[in-house]
């Protein structure tokens, strides 16, 4: 049996990037994201004996991260203030080389459109396509079944699609994306 320090180190090395990415996608501030990730792992250290192993451990960390983030954003007022102060997610943290300008322009437009959706819609999209979590885990994090998570995600994407269309930013013919399906 590994010593607790060894188990924790392995857990930390394996999952730190996923957890700090989770926060980077939601708070937009690198410093804050690292602080919150640090809090997650401090709690994980204290609860190490109860932590599941493997992927289950990662999902447990996501659950904890969600609670810490939720508490961070708890008050609507705080959320609004932070939203203003800490910029839209992705803008400063994703300061990319100049050849990424167009991509960033698209990214900003996506994030703006995403921001017009409800918190629930935004979160299910982030969990699925940014955090790449299995839908069963998304359901667990959202407090619903896997099938309910599927439905939520499907509806959220539909609403995002409409929001992106309303923005007028995306011209299908200019995008090098998967071709539009025949209907």
């Amino acid at each position: 049996m590994d010593a607790p320090e060894q188990r924790f180190t392995r857990l930390y090395d394996t999952h730190y990037r996923a957890i700090v990415s989770y926060f980077l996608r939601r708070v937009g501030s690198s410093s804050l994201a690292h602080d919150l990730a640090e809090d997650v792992f401090l709690v994980a250290w204290r609860k190490l004996d109860h932590l599941p192993s493997g992927d289950e451990g990662l999902y447990w960390l996501f659950g904890l991260a969600k609670k810490l983030l939720w508490n961070h954003n708890r008050k609507a007022a705080t959320r609004i203030r932070l939203g203003h102060r800490l910029r839209a997610p992705g803008e400063p943290a994703a300061q990319q080389p100049e050849d990424q300008v167009v991509r960033n322009d698209d990214a900003r437009a996506v994030i703006r459109a995403l921001g017009t959706l409800s918190d629930a819609d935004q979160e299910v999209i982030r969990l699925a396509y940014w955090d790449d979590l299995p839908h069963a885990v998304i359901g667990e994090l959202l407090g619903c079944s896997r099938s309910a998570a599927d439905v939520r995600l499907h509806r959220a994407i539909r609403r995002l699609r409409k929001a992106m269309a309303r923005s007028g930013h995306f011209q299908v013919e200019e995008l090098q994306l998967p071709a539009q399906k025949e209907t």
Partner: protein
């Protein structure tokens, strides 16, 4: 129009953290472990200048409070001597902290608006009480929230804070890309009195203190600051002390009449005049290191605040500088001070499972400055989901509570007392979310979003 697949691809490309390999672990946690961390070690901030509290005014206030208390005691003795039978202070009995069975036909028999009244008057009459020899006086049924109307008003801005002031309602909020300060006499019509003068944003509380108004903000160029006004229309910028943390905004503020306090995570800013400020870090203030203050209110001569860490603790301070823990929540509980009334501090919050289970809204009260009791509200059981207490309103007409529950949004319960609350089933609240509350005159204003659009719900009593 884009296909779903194209939308998903664009979403993936917009990932703000696409390259996880570039994220170097800071190994802070490992460092802390190596140092034998007990879970409380954290950043040590550089000590800053000592706060000069207005000792004279504080002493004067204490003296005034003593005299007032003496007068009250003498007055109470006089009343007791003059009045026999009905106890006018019965409403001050502490509220039951265990569930009180409420039957559908249980009438609210008291006209007293005190939240506890419904509990204390629910007790059956003494069996040995002599029969009334005279006809009982005719009493009007108590006025409740049903005796009033809700008016829904769409706001042109997202209000982050609203405060009742001598000028009316004052709000800080955002519309489009700017933030501003707004004034309203009634809550229905709002005037922008300060149009985003700084390049960071306003927020972090609206406070009236010693005759002036304060709104906290952040400037990309000047850092954290406070806007100050004595008339609500002319605002000047006051700098807050520089602190070691370069991220973060002032989260909230409160005034006890002598001290104006603002807080940002583990840092407390204090001022007597709103112009000269000092910053205290966690170590200086007696708060634990590495805490994150979650809500501070001034009530009954003290500041109360809770911190969120692995342990959730309620602190109290009579100066804003020295904080003492007064209550540690159970490991599955967390409450934050919300509103004070008649010597009782009420705390909203939630309970949760340690794992991935849902959080449920919860409510606490502290009747004596020391003991924190859980209030069990059978009525506040909503469908499973992430939930917490949003707003607590203690009004002459009774109690109004708002709870957030994911994914359905805000749910309201109201009634004459804590034991007689019922779900507010009014279509005007459909789609409501993120409700905060403020009372002004005899009206109540809830502000939040309805179907994603900023709104205010204004309750006006009808006599």
């Amino acid at each position: 129009m884009l296909t779903d697949e194209q939308v998903i691809e664009l979403v993936r490309r917009a990932d703000p953290a696409p390259d996880q390999e570039r994220l170097e672990p800071r190994h802070d946690a490992l460092t802390l472990l190596a140092a034998g961390d007990d879970g409380r070690t954290g950043r040590i901030l550089t000590p800053r200048k000592t706060l000069k509290l207005p000792a004279g005014r504080r002493w004067l206030r204490s003296a005034a409070a003593f005299v007032a208390a003496l007068v009250l005691v003498l007055g109470a003795i006089g009343i007791v001597a003059l009045v026999s039978g009905d106890d006018p202070d019965a409403a001050d009995e502490p509220i039951a902290t265990t569930p009180v069975p409420v039957t559908a036909d249980a009438p609210a028999t008291t006209a007293a608006p005190e939240p506890e009244a419904a509990v204390t008057t629910a007790a059956p009459p003494e069996p040995s009480a002599p029969p009334a020899t005279t006809a009982p006086p005719t009493t009007e049924p108590p006025l409740t929230f049903a005796d009033g109307t809700w008016n829904l008003v769409e706001l042109g801005f997202r209000a982050s804070e609203v405060t009742s002031t001598r000028l009316g309602l004052m709000a800080v909020g955002r519309e489009a890309e700017r933030s501003g300060i707004y004034l309203s006499e009634t809550g229905e019509r709002w005037d922008l009195v300060l149009d985003g003068p700084i390049d960071g944003g306003l927020g972090g509380g609206v406070v009236e203190h010693a005759g002036a108004f304060y709104v906290f903000g952040t400037s990309d160029s000047a850092g954290r600051l406070v806007m100050r006004s004595e008339d609500g229309t002319t605002w000047t910028q006051v700098a807050l002390p520089t602190v070691s943390r370069d991220e973060g905004v002032v989260q909230g503020a409160a005034s006890d009449g002598d001290i104006l306090l603002a807080y940002m995570w583990d840092i407390v800013f204090l001022s007597a005049d709103g112009i000269e400020w000092v910053a205290l870090d966690a170590a200086q203030s007696g708060l634990l290191e590495n805490v994150s203050l979650e809500g501070v209110i001034a009530f009954d001569g003290h500041f109360y605040g809770t911190e969120y860490n692995d342990e959730r603790i309620l602190y109290a301070s009579d100066t804003g500088a020295d904080w003492q823990p007064v209550h540690t929540f159970a490991r599955d509980e967390f409450g934050w001070p919300s509103v004070g009334h008649d010597g009782v501090l009420y705390l909203g919050g939630f309970t949760f499972d340690q794992g991935l289970g849902p959080m449920e809204a919860a409510l606490w009260r502290m009747p004596d400055g020391e003991t924190v009791e859980r209030i069990d509200l059978a009525q506040a059981v909503f469908p499973p989901g992430e939930g917490w207490t949003e707003a607590i309103v203690l009004h002459d007409r009774g109690v109004l509570l708002s709870f957030h529950v994911e994914p359905t949004g805000s749910h309201l319960i109201a009634g004459p007392g804590m034991a007689t609350l019922e779900i507010v089933d009014d279509p005007v609240f459909e789609g409501a979310e993120g409700l905060n509350a403020v009372t002004f005159d005899d009206r109540i204003l809830l502000f939040g979003e309805k179907n994603g659009v900023p709104h205010a719900w204004i309750w006006t009593p009808v006599d």
